[in-house]
Symmetry: C2
Subunit: 435 residues, 2 copies
């Protein structure tokens, strides 16, 4: 089994051709494959067809997560999962998430064509709405599956996209409102492995080929609602205004100032406002309502708390100064959710490290923490989990120019398959008991 | 003719009942009657029916402006216009614009039922898209009619609302893409009178009942486009970000700071950002593009220039600091348009003052400048123009709680009719020649 090698050319061909076909941004290398959009639905339909042609049994759960399971020899074992996501940001790239699912498919193809028999079943998983770009709430469906996510099933089903479409309706319309329980206790895994691009500059800067991911940094999101008073832009004196957008701009500036004052990564944190919505949109009206979302991330939960505290302390100063200037605007945190720091399982970390070192040697492999959230962060709460990173050119991601070389994509796929096989071998020996 | 009195109760009844019927915001005193919306179309259809029942000939021009003309005795005279608008802000009130049109209708009703004969024809005018709330560009259609507006006919027809609907299509769908030339040289007026609520606090604070408007302050709008670079909110260090929303927030703060530093009104100016649009809307993506509109107003064109210069000087400092922080964001002014200061005609001002003093006595009347833009600002460029202000409670406008008492509404309607009749008398005597 250790001799099994994936077909790197086939992996890269499939990655590129399916990206071109479903969700490519015209005249750009980028992708817009929002969760449960028509492009995502067609990519999902194709994926299920491919997996079933390899003899896998496919099931879709209540959140639209796809599980394609290749049987193993042991009747008492749950599948070893190889999961990631196929949805993208509105202007994302071809590798974030997509590579992990395509590599899992390539692993299944390799096992199938070589007639390999594993001890545990092996499953490909496509997690729904990982980006949270269409339905607010990143890593939403793996969060539901783990029972530890930001919101339970019913709340996620009720989440609406910017056009007001509820997620449950989007699932039903796409044909992905499945009946399998979205619950790790009912539809479980022995372990979860995920290949992903790094989305940061560390591997490239250090000249490394593979990152053995030991965990995911902590993250927290705050939805902030600023309220003021509508008024005429020409007749309302500056001292009698309660301008929600002016106050929101000062608060967003404070978020940016706080993050810039935080120590540089990897020690410090980052904070971003990527979503802003003004209730009104008229050049002659003073805005009375603005909503924005703050994204705070740092290496551990303490650092997240520390940066968050700095942000809200700065908010207090902004609001005091606004009051002094005659403004009666107010703000409230409408919703807080997050992803506490994650620690991956030593068995999975060891399997990934072993597979990576076998492939490229120890000098091109190092352990690292993920700065981005991943479905694996949620799976790690309930089943042994590990991740493999391959380099991102320039560290760029969530951008059409996100790029990982074909060689690194193929390498990642090979390490994914071998990490799963190493883990499976320990299961077959009984070193790792049934979960 | 000086004995003619409008029916104030009928004016107030019609004002309230039509507002309740077409465009009322549920459970609110406010209005959302966006230009050429279904509510606006129904209000227009009703208005034309009312005017035709009074024996007026109605015509609709290429911008949807409605002219309802009651004939006069002199064949060589163009109509004396009584114009305003029936569209509102998305969360506006029942008086801004609507009062002026309803008072004009009440004046026509009064002339009709008393069988009054005027020298000049008298016209009611409903100007299209005065608010610029649906199709960007306030006082759009009166601007086209005057030939001095921000944009000519074809450009206005091509203007799109936030749903991408072109104004020409909206006009056609509502049945208001008329064939009459939208051009004062082809469809002219002898003069233009407009009754409007003050939208500011001056009359109320001074205990006055009528403002004789002598002109409109200068205004300028700037559409600003900020560009940056998309990136992942978790993996991109703060020093490597070009965050368009962070920069835009700093620029909007600078707009607010500049206006707060300007002298208090009436000497100083005001500046507002009422429109902001972020290209992307994902909590995990650093925004790469943001557009916002700055609205600058001050008592004259020099004061507008001075405040604008201060704003853009502050922008230079913001951009320098952003570069020092590692950001490569940039901004450009994508479009600049405006309304230079307007001066109304002495004959019209005198007619308004005379009518107001007759009604309430000199101690309750004063001259003042308008701080808001009005269709009269454009008509004043090409025909003699005057305006009447009545008090706004608390100076509040562009807000559902905008309010003017029934007594002040009726008073305004009476002054409008009598100002028109005074002006008409000077025409009949030849003191004012044909335009």
């Amino acid at each position: 089994m250790t001799s099994l090698r994936i077909n790197g050319a086939r992996l890269n061909d499939t990655l590129q051709s399916t990206s071109s076909q479903w969700g490519a941004i015209p005249d750009s290398p980028g992708m817009c494959r929002l969760s449960l959009s028509q492009a995502d639905k067609l990519a999902r339909d194709w994926l299920i067809g491919e997996c079933e042609a390899l003899g896998c049994a496919t099931k879709v759960d209540q959140m639209g997560n796809i599980f394609a399971v290749r049987p193993g020899k042991a009747p008492d074992r749950k599948p070893i999962g190889m999961g990631s996501h196929m949805d993208t940001q509105p202007a994302g790239g071809r590798y974030d998430g997509i590579l992990g699912v395509q590599a899992a498919l390539e692993a299944l193809r390799t096992l199938h064509e070589r007639g390999a028999e594993t001890h545990c079943p092996v499953a490909l998983i496509d997690w729904t709405n990982e980006e949270g770009a269409r339905f607010p709430g990143a890593m939403m469906a793996s969060g539901v599956w783990s029972g530890r996510g930001a919101a339970p099933l019913a709340a996620c089903h009720a989440t609406r996209d910017s056009d007001g479409v509820a997620m449950r309706d989007a699932l039903a319309r796409a044909g992905y409102l499945g009946e399998t329980a979205c619950d790790w206790r009912e539809n479980g895994l022995q372990a979860h492995f995920e290949l992903h691009i790094e989305q940061g500059p560390v591997l490239e800067e250090k000249g490394l080929a593979v990152g053995v991911v030991t965990g995911v940094q902590g993250m927290k999101w705050f939805e902030v609602r600023v309220t003021g008073e509508e008024g005429h832009s020409g007749t309302t004196p500056m001292t009698k205004r309660s301008d929600a957008l002016a106050t929101a701009s000062r608060l967003i500036t404070a978020v940016n100032d706080a993050a810039r004052s935080s120590p540089e990564m990897p020690l410090g944190g980052v904070a971003t406002v990527g979503v802003i919505k003004c209730d009104t949109s008229s050049q002659a009206t003073i805005p009375a309502g603005v909503t924005f979302i703050i994204d705070v991330r740092a290496r551990n939960d303490d650092a997240v708390s520390s940066l968050s505290t700095d942000i809200f302390t700065r908010f207090d100063s902004v609001m005091r100064a606004e009051r002094d200037a005659g403004s009666k605007t107010a703000y409230a945190v409408a919703r807080t959710w997050g992803l506490p720091e994650s620690k991956f399982h030593p068995d999975c970390i060891a399997a990934v490290r072993g597979a990576a070192v076998d492939e490229v040697g120890a000098e091109q492999v190092d352990e690292m923490m993920s700065r981005a959230g991943h479905d694996s962060a949620w799976t790690s709460r309930v089943v042994p989990t590990g991740m493999i990173f391959v380099p991102s050119k320039g560290g760029i991601s969530h951008n059409p120019h996100e790029y990982t070389s074909p060689e690194h994509c193929a390498l990642g796929g090979q390490v994914l398959l071998q990490a799963v096989l190493k883990y499976d071998e320990l299961c077959s020996k009984g070193t790792i008991p049934a979960s």
